[in-house]
């Protein structure tokens, strides 16, 4: 339950004249204690005293306040180690939840996570990112409404986190987004952040899908428990995500890992990796192979009126079509050459491959493995694993959840909302929301339906 900061502070302890109010003095230790509990670094009062270097009375006082705010729970007992069993101090991760979405070139996924970033529910469906932006925003809003309706517990969303297929510049809107990044050309004029803030009344974060998927793999997939990961997403665009020392490396502008822009040479022609090895190349070469009859499987599909996309080429390769296999093998080798350079620079423990091209077959994986093992220092490849993601698009949702949960509890943001009990009462967000509510609405063609009575996606 949100508590008025001043009242809480003044009612919890009476202070002498001239002494600072608790709201001014307690915040740093409240932030520290909450984050020690939330990140699992401390789970008993004794551990909080030791790791926080705080006195017993201070820990007891702050825990009482955090408990009143509903942010921690002390109802469970831990294991006794000789004496009385200690009372466990746990973060109340279900006090609120985070709405998540991942937008891809061919699909849209939505989900809900708790405040620890644990994914609770998800749904994915086909979508065309080249469709009018209003249509996509409308669908996103509808699916978020569906997620809200399905929440069994009467808690409210605390944030929205989006994963988008484009670079999101670092350094701007670090606390929460107040403007819509110009990630995709078609989205330039659409105030997505402002629209979602107005509609759902919560802060919004946006990161590139490569970054969120890399974080998803780190926290719940192939990178779990590892410190050094290279993530490669291969689709229409090819990008890499880098984890160094357990942290996502974003680069100065948030543009780290844009390997799709690197030049490569294939059959005497030079072009960017995106153009020479991405799904557009596979689709084009697959269509040629179908039309020329070099690929019997794809030619048969074409005769039956099917559209030849990279997915069809991948499936044909998987069932042994030689022309389709050659196309994917070429793509794998080109991607592998660039990935080998990165692997030699970073020396990762694991390279995780993801994206539409890796979902349906192992030939691309084999091509990449061959190129990386052939072009890397022996020490780099000695214990290196190169594997396909098992999380698929879920990685984007899990990573988006981590982005929001880390941002919500970042000390710089947390210190200004913790005494209010929830981030939507953060003074800066209250101001931004008021501005967003007053701002001129987008033109009707861009405006997602916002009928409050509508309860279906």
């Amino acid at each position: 339950m949100p508590i008025d900061a001043t009242n809480t502070a003044e009612s919890s302890r009476s202070r002498g004249k001239g002494r600072p109010r608790i709201s001014e003095t307690a915040v740093p230790s409240l932030v520290q204690i909450l984050n020690l509990i939330r990140t699992g670094r401390a789970s008993t009062r004794q551990e909080l005293e030791q790791k926080g270097e705080l006195g017993r009375a201070v820990v007891a006082d702050r825990l009482q306040l955090l408990s009143d705010l509903g942010l921690v729970d002390e109802s469970e007992l831990g294991n006794a180690t000789g004496g009385r069993a200690p009372r466990l101090v746990q973060f109340s991760g279900r006090q609120g939840f985070i709405l998540l979405a991942t937008l891809d070139q061919t699909s849209i996924g939505v989900g809900v996570s708790d405040l620890t970033g644990k994914l609770l529910t998800q749904h994915h469906e086909a979508a065309d990112l080249t469709a009018p932006v209003a249509q996509l925003a409308d669908r996103l809003t509808s699916l978020f409404n569906w997620c809200l309706e399905r929440q069994a517990t009467p808690t409210a969303p605390w944030g929205i986190s989006l994963s988008v297929p484009g670079t999101v510049q670092a350094g701007r809107d670090d606390v929460f987004m107040t403007t819509t990044p110009t990630t995709l050309p078609a989205w330039e004029d659409f105030p997505l952040v402002e629209t979602l803030t107005r509609q759902f009344g919560v802060p919004v974060w946006i990161r590139s899908s490569v970054e969120t998927m890399t974080m998803g793999e780190l926290h719940a997939g192939a990178g779990l428990g590892r410190r050094s990961i290279l993530f490669v997403k291969a689709g229409r665009r090819i990008g890499a995500g880098i984890i160094c020392d357990g942290q996502l490396y974003r680069g100065a502008q948030g543009a780290a890992g844009l390997i799709g822009a690197l030049p490569v040479v294939s059959d005497g022609v030079t072009g960017t990796l995106d153009v020479m090895a991405g799904s557009d190349m596979i689709e084009r070469e697959g269509r040629n192979a179908a039309q020329s009859g070099r690929s019997p499987v794809l030619a048969d599909l074409l005769r039956r009126g099917a559209e030849i996309t990279a997915i069809e080429v991948s499936q044909a390769a998987q069932i042994g079509d030689p022309a389709a296999s050659a196309i994917l093998s070429k793509s794998g080798h080109l991607i592998g050459q660039v990935v080998a350079t990165l692997a030699n620079a970073l020396n990762p423990e694991v390279i995780v491959l993801s994206g539409t091209l890796t979902q349906t077959n192992d030939i691309l994986l084999a091509g990449i493995r061959e190129a990386v093992y052939g072009a890397s220092h022996p020490l780099v490849t000695r214990d290196l694993q190169i594997i396909c993601s098992q999380m698929g698009s879920s990685a984007g949702l899990v990573g988006a959840a981590r982005v929001a949960s880390e941002a919500l509890f970042a000390p710089a943001f947390l210190k200004d909302w913790i005494l209010h009990g929830k981030p939507t009462l953060h003074p800066d967000f209250v101001n931004f929301r008021a501005r967003a509510n007053k701002a001129e609405l987008p033109p009707p063609t861009h405006l997602p339906p916002s009928d409050p009575g509508r309860n279906a996606p």
Partner: protein, 333 residues
């Protein structure tokens, strides 16, 4: 054509992808593996056909089905049965998870015990293919929802209101059907207003439907996410003097008769449970032989209306349509 995406956004693989070659069958026979089947219920034709499809293929390949377990729609019971099976240690378990978060840890314990897991229709959130389970076999539930909506739409007047009765449990298959139905209406019939409610227990569906009509008397049609509650809703509404057009998923006997009679039910999107059972068994066998299998195998649904109810019934249930349905269609005395 498969319309939906898998539980992690995967593209569907067709059932042909898990075909068994003669050498696969010979290798399976030589190994004599044991498999347990854990289902939400053993009642109803859907379950019987799934089991029938599985048992035939397992029998052909010398795989012994040691148990077929009825969880009675209870998550607690499913958890205790899975824990018991970990001790019994079959080579594989084919299971339909009855819930999401409540059963996830138990399924994780099964995979940690080295037992191959093939899931039907649902994947608890957090479980990953290749790590916690081998593969998921299901209908194209998103396609079923679209199909039901497309079949119902011609029976809706301009500006009509539709009641949508979804399932309150967080369950992949029913979520997909509900989302696809409302999405199809939003895109293709934006004039139609959808009112969504969700039932927890099957007997709640009828009460909710009556309440929805009381709240909006303009509701002239209902979509219920599977046939058993849909049939109960239709009967209860009829008793109360309401005969809305009905759409649902699966062609149960009562629904087939109603469809044949042109009484309330006008659109049914049917699963093919026998074929799903066959695909699940083939996937299990390939997994036991350490062959690579896709993360998601989807079986397309079948759109059923009055005109094709008799032959569709035979394809779906592998038995003749109910006598009453044939009589109503003028195909039997």
């Amino acid at each position: 054509m498969i319309f939906g995406l898998g539980p992690h956004g995967e593209r569907a693989s067709p059932p042909e992808r898990v075909s068994l070659l003669p050498e696969d069958m010979a290798a399976a026979k030589a190994a004599t593996r044991r498999v347990a089947i854990v289902l939400h219920t053993l009642d109803g034709d859907w379950t019987k056909q799934q089991i029938s499809g599985m048992l035939g293929i397992f029998g052909d390949c010398g795989v012994v089905v040691t148990e077929v377990i009825d969880c009675g729609f209870s998550a607690d019971r499913q958890v205790s049965e899975l824990d018991r099976l970990i001790v019994a240690a079959p080579d594989a378990i084919v299971a339909l998870p009855v819930a999401n978060e409540h059963v996830a840890a138990a399924f994780q314990r099964v995979s940690e015990a080295g037992i191959r897991l093939i899931l039907l229709e649902n994947v608890p959130t957090g479980l990953l293919p290749g790590t916690h389970y081998t593969s998921m076999v299901s209908s194209d539930n998103f396609g079923l929802g679209k199909m039901a909506a497309a079949g119902l739409a011609p029976h809706l007047l301009e500006g009509a209101a539709v009641g949508v009765l979804g399932f309150a449990a967080d369950f992949f298959a029913t979520n997909e059907r509900e989302i696809a139905f409302t999405n199809w209406m939003q895109i293709n019939r934006p004039d139609v207003r959808s009112h969504v409610q969700r039932f927890g227990a099957m007997d709640e569906a009828s009460d909710l439907a009556l309440q929805m009509i009381a709240d909006d008397p303009n509701i002239s049609a209902f979509f219920v996410v599977w046939d058993t509650p849909a049939n109960a809703v239709a009967a209860r509404l009829q008793l109360a003097g309401h005969t809305p057009a009905m759409a649902t998923v699966d062609l149960g006997e009562d629904v087939a008769i109603a469809l044949a009679a042109g009484r309330q039910f006008v659109s049914v999107a049917a699963q093919l449970p026998f074929q799903q059972g066959v695909a699940a068994a083939r996937t299990t066998i390939l997994a036991l032989l350490d062959r690579t299998v896709p993360a998601w195998i989807a079986i397309p649904g079948m759109s059923v209306a009055q005109s094709n109810v008799a032959d569709s019934f035979q394809i779906i249930w592998r038995k003749p349509a109910p006598r009453e349905a044939l009589r109503l269609l003028g195909l039997a005395p």
